[in-house]
Amino acid sequence: MVFGMSKMLLLLDPTNPLSLPTKSLIDAFWILETNRAILYGDNIALDPDKYQLSSTRASWPDPMKKILMLMIQASTFAKRQVSYTMIGEFS
């Protein structure tokens, strides 16, 4: 699902305005993708700064806006933290 959705996002033209259903789809993608990545200790599939996150964020339920960004920051940091710590432990 993530792979397919990522492909769709990559095909979107960032200069064109997004339709409401497309925005809803992108919102759902980011909420689920953020949860998937943090739960499985995985990378976020796409860079949130580049792929449409900012254009739809305004429509998110208000309390979720900041907490989802914090989730992305915390999980991205943890991924780097674990990678570097593991290199040190076993080198």
């Binding site: 907490i67 914090l70 933290q81």
Partner: protein, 163 residues
């Protein structure tokens, strides 16, 4: 061995900055006494889980012990776990928020409970998510059972060494 690793120092510092951002979110929330609405409650649950997650990631390797890093004491851990469990139960019974969004917070709560009655409460909540059709919650249940089994083994070993 890694006492003088500048990269680890930088990661510890960045970890503290992220902790501060998480705590600042909490300060902002004090303006509102109770979370109103299902998404506000979900955000509070996720916030508590993020603090557990972020601080726990600094407990797995000895290299962090000599550095100032994000930390929680037991009382803070218990408070976060309790908030996650209580609010999750409310959300599951009273709202239509997709229950799958509670799996990360419940996984974090489960990773921090030691006593069997608290573990039962976590499992009970996860099984309610399954009842709503999210069969992926089975994976989280198995994962937690394995973690608790491992923790019990480690505790037994530590107790045997003490005797």
């Amino acid at each position: 061995m890694r006492s003088f690793d500048a990269r680890l120092d930088a990661l510890a510092l960045e970890g503290l900055e992220i902790e501060e951002r998480l705590l600042n979110w909490q300060e902002g929330r004090h303006l509102e006494r109770l979370p109103v609405g299902p998404f506000a409650q979900l955000a509070v649950i996720v916030h508590n889980a993020l603090l557990l997650y972020h601080c726990r990631n600094f407990t797995f390797h000895s290299c962090w012990m000599t550095r100032k890093t994000p930390q929680l004491n037991q009382s803070e851990v218990d408070k976060h776990v309790s908030t996650i469990l209580d609010l999750s139960q409310t959300l599951l019974s009273d709202t239509y928020i997709p229950a799958v969004l509670l799996l990360f917070p419940l996984r974090m709560a489960g990773a921090h409970v030691l006593e069997s009655h608290a573990q039962d409460k976590v499992l009970d909540t996860i099984r309610k998510i399954r009842q709503k059709g999210f069969i992926v919650s089975d994976i989280i249940e198995v994962d937690l059972q394995e973690l608790w089994h491992y923790n019990l083994g480690e505790l037994t070993k530590a107790n045997e060494m003490r005797v």
